[in-house]
Assembly symmetry: C2
Homo-oligomer: 415 residues x 2
């Protein structure tokens, strides 16, 4: 295997055109952190500019009807293109944290008398904290399944922990640590057999891995849009509520954007019957416009081809790890089997923080996650095969030369 293999993969790549949809500074570092913050689509520059100057600057308050339509359309577009969700089940607003809070609280209210919330000890921190807070406020028990390593939690462990006391199972589709994919359909099915509701966090899978919320029978889901969906820093998150559950659920933040006949401003809260009842306040429109264009770019490519490309990129990355980095003490912390992992690869090293910093010094942007994981994400929308090759070569050379030993070992942000 040599670099010409990567060059050939780039040359034969049916999605090579997609990179040109993004603003990319070719003189910048090799970017393998699209699972933390995705790149800027060119369409977003134009759309935000128009939202600023035309819709806001000239249209002013007269643009609200169009913005409201846009907000509903973005949810439906996202659902159709990336979530396997029929229209009327997805809304984009608020942060992942706030959306998780709203849906988890609604689910717990719908299972009175059951006193256990089930999640995993290696679920993303904000998920664990939100569930911990809800459990504490209601006198429930948050039961965390033990860290499961590169294989994920799995339906068997969930089934073993289920019982008539479990109200809600809340897990991530793809692990932020290892990219291990859970079997959403199987876990949802075992949870339903025990009478529990499920709430999936799709932050680390949406836009990289096909999701079939309707087909998998999922009750509730949330996810962010600033990773693979490329909607920008802190872009509003989405929430999904299966249609037949919507009218029976009530979220705790009763706000005017969930109100029937909002501008009649009536005396009591009377939520709309549909997905809108899971909204609270005014959505941030500039950021929402960027969600729309982020979704459009991925929709044009299609999640199927994106996933194929993502698998090919991570396969190359693993092959190079096997050849070059395994001998240098870096362990593969992600599933080796492509079908079991999402869009990134984590490599464990006892000195992972300093390895990450050495990689940055070598012109590659990775991510680092406690305690020892170097996360490398060749996001499928814009990362070239040769970029993976070059990044891995630099990682090999840096660690091989002991360059990480010269880096600061104190905790803190890596980038």
């Amino acid at each position: 295997m040599d670099r010409r293999d990567a060059e050939r993969l780039d040359a034969e790549d049916p999605l090579a055109w997609l990179r040109d949809r993004f603003v990319i500074d070719e003189a910048g570092p090799l970017y393998l952190d699209g699972n933390s913050l995705g790149r800027l689509p060119k369409a977003t520059v134009a759309a935000v500019d128009a939202a600023l100057k035309d819709a806001w600057g000239s249209g002013l308050v007269r643009s609200w009807p169009g913005w409201m339509e846009h907000a509903e359309r973005v949810g439906d577009d996202l659902g159709r293109a990336l979530l396997g969700a029929a229209p009327g089940q997805v809304a984009v607003s608020d942060s992942t944290t706030v959306n998780l809070y709203k849906l988890a609280a609604a689910a717990l209210d719908a299972r009175p008398g059951r006193r256990v919330v089930l999640s995993s000890a290696d679920n993303f921190p904000t998920d664990r904290y939100v569930l911990e807070g809800l459990a504490a406020a209601r006198g429930l028990e948050l039961r965390l399944l033990e860290p499961s390593g590169p294989d994920g939690v799995g339906p068997a462990a969930v089934e073993a922990a289920l019982g008539p006391d479990v109200a809600l199972v809340s897990l991530s589709h793809a692990s932020y640590l290892t990219a291990a994919l859970e079997d959403v359909a199987a876990i949802t099915a075992v949870a339903h057999r025990a009478g529990a509701l499920v709430l999936w966090d799709l932050c680390h899978s949406v836009g990289a891995v096909p999701v079939e919320l309707d087909g998998w029978g999922v009750d509730l889901a949330v996810g962010c849009t600033y990773k693979y969906v490329n909607a920008g820093p802190g872009a509003p998150a989405f929430l999904y509520v299966r249609r037949d559950l919507q009218e029976g659920l009530r979220q705790p933040i009763w706000g005017w954007f969930g109100q029937r006949d909002q501008f009649l401003m009536g005396p009591g809260y009377d939520p709309v019957p549909g997905i809108g009842r899971f909204l609270a306040g005014t959505p941030p429109m500039l950021s929402l416009v960027a969600v729309g264009t982020g979704v459009e770019v991925l929709a044009e490519a299609g999640i199927g081809p994106l996933r194929e490309r993502s698998v090919a990129l991570t396969e190359l990355l693993i092959a190079l790890w096997d050849a070059w980095l395994r001998p240098l003490g870096l362990a593969l912390a992600s599933p080796r089997e492509a079908a079991r992992r999402g869009g990134h690869i984590s490599l464990a090293h006892p000195d992972g923080l300093r390895v990450s910093r050495a990689l940055i010094a070598a012109g590659v942007v990775p991510d680092f996650r406690q305690p020892d994981l170097v996360r490398l994400c060749p996001a499928p929308a814009y990362t070239r095969f040769t970029e993976v090759w070059d990044a891995m070569e630099r990682l090999r050379d840096a660690v091989g030369a002991g360059a990480h030993l010269a880096q600061d070992a104190r905790p803190g942000r890596v980038t």
Copy 2:
């Protein structure tokens, strides 16, 4: 009084330069709806463009340390310039609705055993709905003081409703209906004497009326930034928690942006001691940048001169109402005394919806609020005295000619 009086006021206006800080289509309609959505500052166009192309497009994830600093600075700048709040007490993130929910819940937790929440029947709808939801979830009573007309609720009515069972008093500083200003210091004092906490909604006062949260002894406050602060549609809102209360309060949405050593991603929620514990998820950075520039523009003018100008503009508006519109059946629904009102004027007309629509047809953008209020806001940062003159003239001519009778009478958005 003739138009030359308004021309003279414009010519002698010490803040006339401020209008040039905004993107204004001089061929567009006369805009008297800055209390719904403020205009676009020129600095925001440049700042959002830089945030998009430089910080996000080129800097990517490496821009996060700068964004985090910016988020903290925007809160402090807003506090200093517009809220009378020393640093470390204001954060900008989430919507007004979500912030109100967080702070009201924290306040209720801090007053266990007290079973009444006090607000007013004409408080802004999202405030009433949020409080209604919290009261319902906790088995508390939401007690709404009766609509108080152009004089506001007032300390006497609040004092009469207070007792040892009241946990929280939550009111708006300026009424969204009439612009009536409450005496925040006096109401806060009577609430404190009864052992209750206060939570003020500043949406309709911030940026138009001087606010002295520290000086008035306020416990908690929230407000939006897309009205007089000109931060754009759905821009994130702020929250204020007085410093000595911060460590003793805990809000219900436990998220990673409130967590101590956030990127250590520890096992349990352990909130930071300061204002950061009232954050939840990732703030929307593009929109937050626009809050920063919105605050800067007003800070340059100073809230004192802005208030003087606002009073002069609304005095002119009232004088013209008195001369022209009172005889046509429009009633002044806002306080006549300048010190008792905020930045807008509401005129009541039995056919207010159609009057609003006729005004739009005449090239003026007002707002309409159920059941009969035409809201007119000469926002002090950019509205000319001659614009007020011309708008009132068009309103006089439209109603005088019965032009409103040709408009659609069915409910729906006016603009």
